[in-house]
């Protein structure tokens, strides 16, 4: 039995320079490192990815992985957890991937409250297919399939998750790795379904760094166990208007044992 202790594989990283995916990779690597250090067996960690730029994370992380299909991260995660409840199952998916192609799976997994952690690399654009609009692109988004701009408003995935009875909902941003680490640690530890929506910047097709930097703020004095407060924060930004954008753990249903 020989396993490299490193959490990094030999695979060559092909993300663009400045891609938000690096922050997600580094944050999860750090958190997994801590979890393993604290005694959780690394062979019991499984990551699942879909198809899209985000999905290459399966090649880059040296842990058990399931590089699945576009839109299908969630049912795979559910099944692995049901098959072996001792495993920690973390799914990485894109916005086109899981808010588009595989949305029904996400709704049902939240409804079933299966103990998996779903991380959405939400760059609000299709990167790998070179720049089309996604379910969370802002109204009027000019992509290669909508050169005159979209005529449909984005969905607010957090609101949708609340309606689907998701027990843990958070929003992160790929500029600011400390907050990402904090969110990941708590989401992974949470016993139940958790969704982490990450504003992940695609530097090539939809560079939103300046836009987000001006608007994001970290939630303070927020009680995530308070449903009404959570709803208020979720509605503060609808992925379209130019409002402030709250980051952090927005909703967390109290687990009564």
């Amino acid at each position: 039995m020989t396993v490299s202790n490193s959490l990094t594989t030999n695979a060559k990283n092909t993300w663009c320079l400045g891609c938000g995916n690096f922050a997600i990779l580094n944050a999860i690597k750090a958190v997994l490192g801590v979890i393993i250090e604290e005694g959780f067996p690394r062979e019991k960690i499984v990551i699942v990815s879909g198809i899209g730029c985000h999905a290459k994370i399966a090649d880059y992380l040296n842990v058990n992985s399931f590089y699945s299909l576009h839109g299908r991260v969630v049912p795979v995660c559910e099944a692995i957890k049901l098959a072996n409840p001792e495993l920690k199952v973390i799914g990485f998916a894109g916005d086109g991937d899981t808010y588009g192609e595989g949305l029904e799976h996400l709704i049902f997994a939240a409804k079933r409250n299966i103990d998996i952690n779903i991380v959405i690399h939400n760059n609000r654009v299709y990167g790998l297919t070179t720049g089309q609009y996604t379910p969370t692109s802002p109204l009027g988004f000019k992509g290669r399939s909508t050169p005159k701009g979209t005529t449909e408003s984005p969905i607010n995935p957090l609101e949708l998750m609340m309606a689907s009875h998701a027990n843990f909902i958070a929003r992160g941003y790929t500029h600011g790795i400390e907050l990402l680490k904090k969110i990941f640690k708590e989401a992974i530890a949470y016993e139940g379904f958790s969704l982490v929506d990450i504003l992940q910047v695609c530097v090539t097709f939809f560079n939103m760094y300046d836009y987000y930097n001006k608007r994001v703020y970290e939630l303070k004095d927020h009680d995530p166990e308070d449903y009404a407060q959570a709803m208020e924060k979720i509605k503060e930004w609808d992925y379209n208007i130019d409002s402030k954008i709250p980051l952090g753990i927005v909703y967390k249903k109290k687990i009564i044992k």
């Binding site: 039995m1 695979a11 067996p41 062979e43 090649d59 299909l69 795979v76 559910e78 072996n84 029904e104």
Partner: protein
């Protein structure tokens, strides 16, 4: 009378289906071999439903259209089936619901009312009356009721006895001196086969004609520690199966053509990621929704080619309850040894038909076993070994990092676009077919029945086995039934048709998919007898058609 049929009919929701199984069990007690054909529309209430319970001395797997006993719960039951009656047919009807010049009317509605029973118990009353009229003892009636009715048993028995006492014995059905066999539906036999093959998880979205497997397995899930999952759609079904398989759990999924359409991306994934899964595919007439509650053999081509790309798969089409039990178990073992998808091709006739089930005839199921990682050295999920079968390890195995991938990948499971590696890995996956074929040589995958040396052969597949064997026996013809279609054991097939001068291919489809399949393998079929109205052949009907050729 050693071959006779009973028809029970009513409207959907009247309980005809359950009654037909009870009648089958009763006649089985007299030593008869049973086959039950179910005919029902795609509605929950209303519509006309009937079942034909055929009883014979020898094993049968087809129904006849001529009936000797007609049990009518409503007017349609008489009006629509008059033409099926044999010369001395016994007709028993509910005189409160049916007007008839023939047969015995019983005021079933009044009887029910008197004892404060519910409408559904009209079935018990008419079954009781039937037993008396054909000379079945009360004791047998009671035994079968006790074994099959869980709700309101006493009241059901009371109503049945009241029906029994209303009639006189018309004929005395002869008791046969042979072993009593249980009557099971094809779907139940499949469920039992899956359990025998070590299946621990069954995932399905409800769809006729295979929902019976989901219901059967859910009902016995505690007894056998099974995980039965009904997710949001068939896409999730198949991808969940991949997750279970990856985690080391033996898993099966089931659907009909429409659901299988949604599973095909997952099927192709199974081929690429080399994750074993057993897929139950219950055919019905298509295209599209077609005739959801009727039968057809329209998906041989689909099963053989579903999913993008080229990959090794196992496809088998069993012909009756014993065969479907056997192959459900064996497919699981083969899927796990070769790390491939296995498809069990059935149809409504086989899935929802009920058969006398003789487990002794099914054959022993021994292995083959999957190859597990030796736990030494660096683990590579896709180690490129000689026979293409890389040792298995599952997440939580200490010292192994298990990486599966839908992209082309290297031995460790990391994505690649390298041209040499692409060729090598594609070769590795396809090479497994050769070893699978070699292994299958030890199994009888092409069966020969009836007059085995006849120069005219009926060629058939799947549920047509039963009807073809009967006709072959009667007309002195050879019957050839290939069961495994991928990989195809051409050597066995050529052996089976040795000396044949004329081949008549019998299928429940419009194109002749089996005929085309063997043509592709260099064997010409002389004639095609095709039926695609959603109903299976009866022996009498097929005999006529074959004679006319």
């Amino acid at each position: 009378m050693k071959d006779f049929s009973i028809l029970i009919a009513g409207k959907a929701g009247d309980g005809v289906d359950k009654s037909s199984l009870i009648i089958g069990e009763i006649l089985a007690q007299l030593g008869y071999r049973i086959y039950i054909y179910r005919d029902y529309p795609s509605v929950i209430r209303g519509g006309h439903t009937f079942s034909i319970i055929r009883c014979a001395k020898n094993k049968i797997a087809a129904h006849e259209n001529i009936v000797d006993v007609l049990l009518a719960l409503n007017q349609d039951s008489i009006d629509l089936h008059k033409s099926r009656l044999s010369a001395k047919a016994i007709i028993i009807y509910d005189s409160g619901a049916v007007k008839s010049d023939l047969g015995f009317g019983i005021p079933i509605g009044e009887i029910i009312k008197e004892v404060k029973a519910i409408d559904l118990m009209r079935n018990s009353c008419i079954i009781g009356a039937m037993c008396k009229s054909i000379g079945v003892e009360k004791g047998i009636l009671e035994k079968i009721f006790r074994e099959n009715i869980t709700r309101e048993l006493d009241l059901n028995l009371k109503v049945a006895f009241l029906g029994f006492d209303r009639l006189e014995e018309v004929i005395k059905i002869e008791k046969l001196d042979q072993r009593i066999l249980p009557v099971v539906t094809g779907n139940e036999a499949i469920g039992k086969g899956f359990i025998k093959g070590g299946m621990k998880t069954y995932i399905a979205y409800p769809m006729t004609p295979v929902s019976g497997v989901l219901h059967y397995l859910a009902a016995v899930s505690e007894e056998f520690s099974l995980n039965i999952i009904h997710p949001e759609n068939e896409i999730a079904v198949m991808l969940m199966a991949m997750g279970f398989s990856y985690a080391g759990t033996r898993v099966a999924v089931g659907s009909s053509g429409g659901g299988f359409c949604l599973m095909t991306e997952g099927l192709s994934f199974s081929g690429m990621a080399e994750l074993p899964v057993v897929v139950l595919l219950g055919q019905r007439p298509g295209p599209s929704t077609g005739l959801p509650t009727y039968t057809g053999q329209t998906e041989l081509n689909f099963a053989l080619s579903a999913g993008q790309g080229e990959f090794t798969r196992f496809v088998v089409a069993p012909g009756d309850a014993e065969e479907v039990y056997y192959w459900s178990a064996l497919s699981m073992n083969l899927a796990w040894k070769y790390q491939i998808p296995a498809i069990i091709l059935c149809d409504k006739t086989l899935n929802e038909g009920a058969y006398s089930f003789d487990i002794g005839l099914a054959g022993e199921i021994n292995g083959p076993e999957p190859l597990l990682w030796s736990k030494s050295g660096e683990y590579k999920r896709y180690e490129n070994v000689k026979n293409g079968i890389s040792p298995l390890a599952f997440p939580s195995e200490k010292g192994a990092v298990v990486k599966v991938n839908s992209y082309e990948h290297d031995e460790a499971g990391i994505t690649t676009e390298d041209k040499d590696l692409t060729t090598a890995m594609q070769d590795k996956r396809l090479r497994k077919a050769k070893y699978l074929l070699e292994e299958l040589e030890q199994y009888e995958t092409v069966k020969v029945y009836a007059k085995k040396d006849a120069s005219t052969a009926i060629l058939c597949w799947g549920s047509n086995k039963g009807v073809c064997v009967e006709v072959g026996d009667k007309l002195g013809l050879r019957v050839v039934q290939p069961t495994v279609f991928s990989p195809f054991l051409l050597k066995q097939f050529k052996e089976a048709i040795k000396g044949v001068k004329k081949i008549i291919c019998v299928e429940n489809n419009a194109a002749g998919q089996l005929a085309d399949f063997v043509k592709f393998h260099g064997i010409d079929v002389d004639d095609r007898v095709l039926k695609y109205d959603g109903r299976p052949f009866t022996p009498a009907e097929l005999e006529q058609k074959i004679k006319a050729r």
